[in-house]
Symmetry: C2
DNA sequence: GCCAAAATGAAACGATCGTTCTATTTTCTC
DNA sequence: GAGAAAATAGAACGATCGTTTCATTTTGGC
């Protein structure tokens, strides 16, 4: 992977998330990337491919961010997902989920939508793995992962109305009640 | 309020929600509204004003849909919000929250963003009122409303990954556990 | 230091989009 | 039914945007 290509993908991720898919043109991306327009078109066939690369870049950094360095098990290992999300939001700002926004702006089937679907499935699998590692059985993990996922998605969406800290804190507390009501090895 | 104006606002709401703010131009709106282009510009100063009217139209129908015809109190009165959301999604499709998408596509301050903020505050107030009517005290209602709000927002967002029925059912079940864990008159 | 490959800056294209304008037709009111 | 107001169809405008091209400069490997 070329250095310039990475630059463009990272810059596109930043500016697309900050200003929205509608208002951002190719010229803004090359400005943010400190790169000539021709360079972008030597690395990408078109704008949509830049967007796909931006989503791939975001998926990568997101998974890095959500990864646990070391984990003692139990409920706290699951609840720490919300803390990671809070850190993630601190860097990236609170403008919702980039993948959902991309899917909304590209309603017809295509690589953008596929990237969004793949991201959500990876996310769900990550939650489920965390639950299993924390002590829940497979069937319980599958069910609980759906609810934790709803709470995490709700936290991100609610940032707009409630602010980052409140939205994530309330989601986390609800998750704690949920997990206490459905303890492992039940 | 003129008949044509209402037509345009309703059509804009439909097509904007279905296809996204980015891909929809004024010509698509007038096609969907069965109205001439000049008529649109005789009723609205510009496209952004059409969008604001579309959001206002959606707010109106949304509040109608969420309103209870008659309500026995208790937990079920609150949980019925999720059923209403399911009905709402059945008509409107599962492309996320139109207000959040509008806010994401119009990042700078302005009437679009204001409409989105106002909608979320109205929504929160509706939830809180429902909780009070169901028996919770004022302080508890305020706190619980935040969490129910997160769950409702999460349900809408999770539709993309989980499908309408699953997303809303899991959110509703989580809400039930939350409300059982924090009963009224605690 | 040389040479190929990559990057740059800038201009220019076709297409699309928001907006305006005009001439004609329909609708509504008295 | 006459006259005013609104709606229509369609053309045309300037601006923006995605994309292509080109001549020039910079970079990196032998």
């Amino acid at each position: 992977m070329s250095k310039k290509r990475q630059q463009i993908a990272a810059a596109a991720e930043r500016v697309l998330y900050r200003e929205g898919f509608a208002q951002v043109g190719v010229d803004r991306i090359v400005d943010e990337a400190d790169v000539a327009l021709g360079t972008l078109y030597k690395h990408f066939p078109g704008k949509e491919d830049v967007i796909v690369a931006a989503l791939a870049h975001r998926e990568e950094t997101f998974l890095e961010r959500m990864e646990e360095p070391e984990g003692e098990g139990g409920i706290d290992a699951v609840l720490r997902l919300f803390d990671r999300l809070l850190d993630w939001g601190d860097e990236k700002g609170g403008n919702g989920c980039l993948f959902l926004r991309a899917a909304a702006d590209y309603p017809e089937p295509g690589p953008v939508r596929e990237a969004a679907v793949a991201h959500k499935q990876t996310y769900l699998a990550l939650i489920e793995r965390r639950l299993r590692h924390a002590g829940w059985e497979k069937a319980e993990s599958k069910r609980l992962a759906l609810r934790i996922f709803v709470l995490l998605e709700g936290a991100v969406s609610a940032v707009f109305a409630l602010g980052r800290e409140t939205a994530i804190a309330e989601a986390k507390e609800t998750a704690r009640l949920l997990l206490l009501a459905c303890p492992p090895r039940g």
